[in-house]
Subunit: 246 residues, 2 copies
């Protein structure tokens, strides 16, 4: 079972868009996939028109089993929505174990999945900590602009700090998102990413494509909304990249 | 003295880009402007190449006066960087007064400014609360896509809830950002925004323009980097809109 966090504390880099469409691409390939919404703002739920008052919040705050809150949303694809109280974890989480609640929930899972994909919030607080301590892989979306780089260097510092102190080690992948190939800046950022993280930048680049921005308006993934589009091709190829690695 | 928060808990909508370039546009018009970085990720500091270990964190956590941490960064323009401990406010802030620390710091300010512009983080926690309880105006950047709308409706609920409970009332302005006029989706979002908030959507739309993404790479505002550009025109006009209102 592969557990992958879609993580970047920089806002608007395509975490939610990647979580939804990567998860569905894997499910369409016959993999059994569980999507977890770890963002109190619940955009994953908004994207798919699947919003519930109870979900990840009950799992982390009240030890509810994942199985009790997961919703079948597509063939082979389950979603645990954020729930309305997920933001409380940051303020009510107490004690040393509060960083390990997701790990505990995953250990107690009865069901098997091929992939667990976790949509993270634009922050590096207790929710992100829970994810870092429970997953084996990070997929870090990076946009082709300067502030993305400064955000990335900060993110890597935070991850290294947590992994060193708590003796964790995750495999890290990077994917360029919202990519505009015609911009010199985007190509420069792409080159830098390859220089800093050789062999960790996934070959597929997710291009900026309005269909990806439109599909949530219909509560559809890109494959349902426009299966013959750059957005669909890119996320399909990203899924293939990920299945081939590791 | 006008106090304006650049607020939206949705990530990557141009809060930081707007804070920097609006503040500089006002300063270039001869206004005396103070920029406050309220984002623990400190992107304002990264943007302008002005990063310090102490700043807003010391003001909010240890009652340091704003004047002690403000840096003169351009003619008529001062910046209080986030400082490295700003994230601690969320976890260490205690007691009823913890929501009013910014208000207290502003009340104790000796200096006069024409405008105080506050760059907010992509979250609605204690930092955003402090800002909401201290400012008179909100400028809410909105991008032309569907998830921006769901984020906006959530934001308005949070603001209304806080303002009702704590008897506050701010003036709210909206500005479309990263706008691609050729996209039908963007024009639909623009129309919806005008329908929901008549007379509150600023006439200037900030267009998507690569120069705005490039200028932080040179630690320059758009006016220094490319004064004859759509980005510069749009932020100059946005400043003129704001000066004319209220
Ligand atoms: N490749 C793309 N092409 C066009 N639009 C995109 C693309 N990827 C994402 N978007 C749009 O950009 C906006 C930001 O994307 P998204 O919400 O997925 O990012 P995020 O990192 O999850 O944001 P947040 O930090 O707020 O959680 C959304 O409106 C989305 O529809
Ligand atoms: N009008 C624009 N045209 C082109 N690029 C833009 C524009 N506005 C912002 N950007 C770029 O988009 C990215 C996100 O913008 P910015 O960081 O200002 O948003 P934000 O709301 O402050 O994000 P966060 O939620 O992470 O604080 C940045 O890389 C920025 O350079
Ligand atoms: Mg998201
Ligand atoms: Mg910002």
């Amino acid at each position: 079972m592969r557990t992958i966090a879609i993580l970047n504390q920089k806002g608007g880099v395509g975490k939610t868009t990647t979580s939804v469409n990567l998860a569905h691409a894997l499910a369409l390939q016959g993999k059994r996939v569980l999507l977890l919404d770890f963002d109190p703002q619940g955009h994953l739920g908004s994207y798919l028109g699947c919003e519930y008052t109870e979900g990840m919040d009950q799992v982390l705050l009240n030890d509810m089993p994942l199985q009790a809150v997961q919703k079948l949303i597509r063939d082979n694809l389950y979603l645990v929505p954020a729930g309305e109280s997920l933001g409380l974890l940051e303020t009510t989480g107490k004690g040393v174990s509060r960083g390990y609640r997701l790990q505990k929930a995953l250990d107690n899972m009865q069901e098997r999945f091929d992939f667990i994909i976790i949509d993270c919030p634009p922050a590096t607080g207790l929710l992100a900590m829970n994810v870092l301590l429970a997953v084996d892989e990070l997929l870090i979306p990076v946009t082709g602009d300067y502030l993305a780089l400064t955000g990335l260097s900060r993110l890597m510092q935070v991850i290294m700090h947590i992994e060193t102190r708590l003796e964790r080690k995750t495999k890290k992948w990077f994917v360029l998102t919202r990519f505009n190939e015609r911009r010199k800046l985007a190509r420069e950022i792409q080159k830098k990413l390859h220089d800093y993280f050789p062999n960790q930048v996934l070959p597929t680049t997710i291009r900026e494509s309005v269909t990806l921005a439109e599909s949530p308006g219909f509560a559809q993934t890109i494959f349902e909304y426009r299966n013959k589009s750059y957005g669909a091709d890119d996320y399909r190829n990203l899924a293939i990249n990920l299945m081939a690695l590791k």
